[in-house]
Point group: C2
Chain length 348, copies 2
Amino acid sequence: MGVKSIVTNIKDVAKYLGISVSTVSRALNHYPDVSPITKNQVMDAVEHLNYRPNAVAKGLIQKKTFTVGLMIPDISDPICSLLAASVEKSFSDQGYQVVYGSTHRDPAKEKQFILNAISRQFDGLILTPDVLDEELVSLLSDLRMPVVFLQRRTPEGLNAPFVDVDHYHAASAAVRNLITRGHQRIGFIAMPASSFTGSERKRGYLDTMSAYGLMPEMMGMVEGGRTIEQGRTAMAELYQRCPGLTAVFAANDLLAVGALEWLHQQHMNVPGQISVIGFDNLEHAALHWTQLTTMEQPTEEMGRKCALAMLRMMRDPKQLPVSELIEAKLIERGSVLNLNAIPVYTMN
Amino acid sequence: MGVKSIVTNIKDVAKYLGISVSTVSRALNHYPDVSPITKNQVMDAVEHLNYRPNAVAKGLIQKKTFTVGLMIPDISDPICSLLAASVEKSFSDQGYQVVYGSTHRDPAKEKQFILNAISRQFDGLILTPDVLDEELVSLLSDLRMPVVFLQRRTPEGLNAPFVDVDHYHAASAAVRNLITRGHQRIGFIAMPASSFTGSERKRGYLDTMSAYGLMPEMMGMVEGGRTIEQGRTAMAELYQRCPGLTAVFAANDLLAVGALEWLHQQHMNVPGQISVIGFDNLEHAALHWTQLTTMEQPTEEMGRKCALAMLRMMRDPKQLPVSELIEAKLIERGSVLNLNAIPVYTMN
DNA sequence: CTGAAAGCGCTTACAG
DNA sequence: CTGAAAGCGCTTACAG
């Protein structure tokens, strides 16, 4: 395949053409003050020698690596990977590489990732920390690198925008959906107390229940977790404690699916005997057997807006973009019964 | 927070202590020939000045970036993200950063990613290309960078190890599972013809059927795709063409789930009237409603072995590690009926 | 329009 | 045990 050596650098190209390294550099970077003839020669030589510019050297001198870090709890979580895919898409269109780091909600790994990002001179950092201890906050506050929080809110003392779903409002909408359809005894399966997202949804549930004057005895709460398995056991516990519930709001879809599984195993008809509403709109929710009514997190939009905010900050570090609080969207399927209507489901 | 300036480099540390840059560097890198006193002073100064070594500069001079690229079709595909999580885990333990690129099976993006990896001086490349055209093969053959193929086989003309599941053998095992249980009329829902994985599984189906003397009229094949939706329509088509089938082998779990959905909508009992076996062992397969018998891809093991092979090649570029062909594992659940046993299911 | 030179922030022989 | 110097592969004022 011609004269290509194992590895070529800009010096080789210059030597090959008998011109200076600076001219080659300017031609390569499309500077306007290079003669068209020279530019063509350079392009041909690059082709011929199979030269590929060294981005590391370029990054060192320009102090720009075209890399942004994306810290996520777990890449194999469906919401995370959807978010990641959207962020990546927006950035790769602009020539940026995005580097993920799965932290598994471990503060030590979160710190490791941020330190790494500093060392490696990333141009920006997108963070989804679960708990941000004081040490990390102070680390971030000294950072001269744009930061945006994704699916989180900006911690106290930091000055960075966030992009998140309005979990509180969405949870409230979910509960109102049930109440509007005549439900009063509504249970809640919570995510871990440490989860910000989870506590917002819980707040939405509680506030909405009391706003409608539904007394504590109408409620029933149990801490589930995040997984299908946890949803199953949570539903069992919830039902045992509050057998009179007509509806359950599960703080995420996986919990809701677990709840549905348990109910089905107990031969309880959904929504005939009990209604279920979830949160996330995972693929699971659309399955024929679940037909789960749920609040959709618009992951594509979130990733895109997050990337946009970051791109804007990288262009102009002076002014912060405003944070985005995105509305979740109600996706109605078959898991909620309208108690006010003539029942169309046969109880058995 | 003390005397930390916006950004510190090794020169600042040296100046602060009144010693040379080279001594600081040696202390930082734990060279043995640095006096303990000096080393302590350096460590304290680093702490005090909040110095973080610039990995870009280090990478430039050492020609090692501690970065490996992982090219995958789509990070939001469950198998891909599981594989990615496992690869990432193995590498991050060793101080490597892994950079994903979702190519969406687009050769242009695949090329883009490889070019990018060259520019950015990655230390290694893990590839899962769907189609590798001649141009890409020649690009890779000139590469002085370790490459391992994951969930693929090494293309003709390239000299790199691969780590993959033995799809052919596993598909054969799936079909034998059905045959052993008395099934003879076995249908197949295929993945796209362009998929290597898919054609291996198809080959396994076909060869096993004929090995058992099950004539073409016992078979029924239809090209599904990859998704639940495609599984649904494929099952409809398959049933229409071959109503006498007693079992169906779906080339992946998503197709199998779609098939199950369609069968259930048609009020056909699984496994009472028709058995279904899948491939992948996704979370979907364990759902209460599906209880899908399937072949598990050991993603954790694959990712780990792939990382190990890469690490070995980076250590000693001379000798190639041998490729790994990993056995899939049969996961028996409730979607396959044993026709030889006394039927425990009531037909309705 | 082009070239020589300095420099990005490190590491690494080489001398002492 | 320590320091001065060269150099990794680029870019970018500066001069001409």
